[in-house]
Symmetry: C2
Subunit: 393 residues, 2 copies
């Protein structure tokens, strides 16, 4: 048996293990100092009450003969797809029920969608980038091109007509930078894709952090997107489902390449290689869309947003260039005094015992930048902000 | 963008849709007749109490700050892997903790494992076969060879030294036939694989139905299997998790091809393209292994086994050749009077209003055979058996 040799080409990432190692070393040398972690990329607030009640009640249903559920539809239950249809309608996007596929999370579908594409396609990803976009394509042996995201374009690269790409990854609000495309910018991408017969893989996992009504929360707010884009989203950040696992993927019916419907291909992929998301989890996800559920998840989102604002404000006060933090849980800052990313990491840890993530870990354009997140507790975030305020002042 | 053209080669299966169509037609023409479905391929008994309690309590944990769980390990929580380690030890199999990977079900992993293999491998599947083995490989453009399972070999084909295969699918107890390999037979496969540098994908989803201690429940009961086999199993049939979604895959550390560890490759695949199974569901699965949980799932298994015995007994009384039913929820019978599969389907529906699955739907060697299952209610199974007894007599 011959193995898939492309696995030899995947780079090992030591980003988070190096962070952990440095933090542990500092902590053991300085047992009296309190370290505050603002590098957390995971939600920390518990599931809201409505969701917990729905999960418990669905668990009970599964324990009774008359309400037991065996295999469900691989593409998700109608009740949850209908709720999502309604959610999209709120920002003016009309979707057919069978354009929505429920999954166990955006990460799975972002990887698995590549099953539908030939190896012989050129992939375009931004730099800095969420490493999963790159690694999943290296596993398939596809050619990858990078587009520069930097201070000049406010970390929102736009299409270059001289570059011929087939598969384009866009993430907005962006991980790791927190930058958000506006409608005009996204329209340029949609036009590029339609003109060049390319497909856009649009990762909108952080759309729930957008508060400005003029900013697009879905790529389908842009005319023409249904003939070129697949959208991936998730309950992870929206409702704290990182450990509960539920997401969704939109594959429009108008998405046709080589006379083949990507919607039908994805349906075939999912019915063959997937068996659907737990009924219990889907009932929990549905509760997010009840009036009380909406209110409760909104409170959590406000909590994180207020944390982000506190961090952004202290950086603004000290004239530190940064983006994100407004429509995103991430704050992406330029390291002061032209420090390199790891230099600034050490500097913060040594002086104020704040841990963040070096931007260079996300690509060469991340060098000299640094990511802070709003997923810490309010208390810790406030403490961190006070330390920064004093130290930078 | 070029799509994966292999999708054009996947055959559409009309097996279950044709069954449904025929049943609906009969029902509308004969509103006075009660139809009994013995074609069900899904569990019907509810989750046991221990599991439901664990699911509810884990849901509550997720609703409290101090016990909330965000992202878990992609390969599964230690608590569940330890329980599975103990489960394997019961039938004499020692596994390292990191050889066990928790998944959302055997179907997902059986499909996704192919990521690790080059396209240029020859796949060997039995005929009749669970269609997923075939379709997932067609999607990748691999060459597929079939081996004949038939009455001569009691639907348990053995290796043929003249056939060179790289990836071998074995399912024991088998779906759809219910046939079970003994240790000597499995040893032949393990020896063949080790000699020919092949990998065995061993689907043991029905191992919980085995009652004879001499029959292997895991391929790792066979010496040499750890250098050639990956095992896929699931809580679906064992504990009624078809709608709750949890399974596991064993990738031994000794499994090395082209100097690459399949264990490390699978870990990399899962950490890149998967985010783990819901914490809640994993807690539910863990409860299966508590003393009370074991007792409760055993009661359900006994219920299905008794149904299988009732069906098998009536066939034996009327000298109808069949296998399965003893260590399997499936009964695979030769259609009487040399009827073809669909002919017998119509015959049963018309005369005794019993619905089963035509064997021809699982491959050419299934022609002339028929599958009944034990997942119906006791009451319906008894009624069906009475009808058959009267009719065949």
């Amino acid at each position: 048996m011959k193995v898939n040799m492309n696995y030899k080409n995947i780079a090992q990432s030591y980003l988070f293990s190096t962070v952990a190692k440095k933090v542990n070393e500092f902590a053991s040398k300085n047992p009296d100092k309190t370290i505050i972690k603002l590098g957390i990329g995971d939600v920390t607030l518990p599931l809201c009450e409505q969701v917990v009640n729905a999960l418990k009640s669905a668990s009970e249903e599964m324990g009774r003969q008359e309400s037991f559920h065996g295999y469900g539809p691989e593409q998700g239950y109608e009740f949850l797809k209908s709720s999502l249809q309604g959610y999209y309608k709120e920002h003016g996007v009309n979707l057919e029920n069978d354009e929505i596929f429920i999954s166990d999370g955006a990460k799975s579908d972002l990887g698995n969608i590549l099953d539908l594409f030939d190896k012989d396609n050129t992939v375009l990803v931004p730099d800095p980038v969420y490493p999963v976009y790159v690694d999943t394509n290296i596993m398939n042996g596809r050619k990858i091109l990078y587009m520069n995201a930097n201070q000049d374009n406010e970390f929102l690269p736009l299409p270059d007509e001289n570059v011929k790409a087939d598969i384009i990854y866009l993430c907005s609000p962006n991980n790791p930078t927190g930058a958000v495309y506006n409608k005009e910018q996204l329209k340029k991408w949609v036009d590029y894709a339609n003109k060049n017969n390319a497909v856009i893989l649009f990762d909108s996992a952080y759309e729930c952090f957008i508060t400005d009504e003029n900013l697009p929360r879905s790529i389908y707010e842009i005319e023409g997107a249904k003939t070129c884009a697949i959208e991936f989203c998730s309950f992870s950040k929206m409702a704290g489902f990182t450990g509960t696992r539920c997401g969704w993927t939109i594959v429009p019916q108008d998405l046709v390449f080589d006379d083949m419907s990507l919607n039908k291909m994805w349906l075939r992929r999912q019915t063959t290689k997937f068996n659907g998301v737990s009924y219990i989890v889907q009932k929990g996800a549905q509760a997010v869309f009840t009036p009380e559920g909406k209110k409760q998840i909104q409170q959590n989102l406000e909590y994180y947003k207020e944390n982000a604002k506190l961090i952004s404000d202290v950086l603004t006060r000290h004239n530190i260039w940064h983006i994100g933090g407004k429509h995103s849980p991430y704050i992406w800052l330029k390291c002061p005094n032209n420090m390199k990313s790891w230099e600034f990491f050490d500097y913060l840890l040594e002086n104020v015992q704040i841990v963040g993530t070096p931007g260079s870990g996300f690509g060469k354009n991340g060098e000299g930048y640094f990511r802070l997140t709003s997923f810490g507790s309010r208390e810790n975030t406030q403490k961190a902000v006070e330390r920064l305020d004093k130290f930078l002042g």
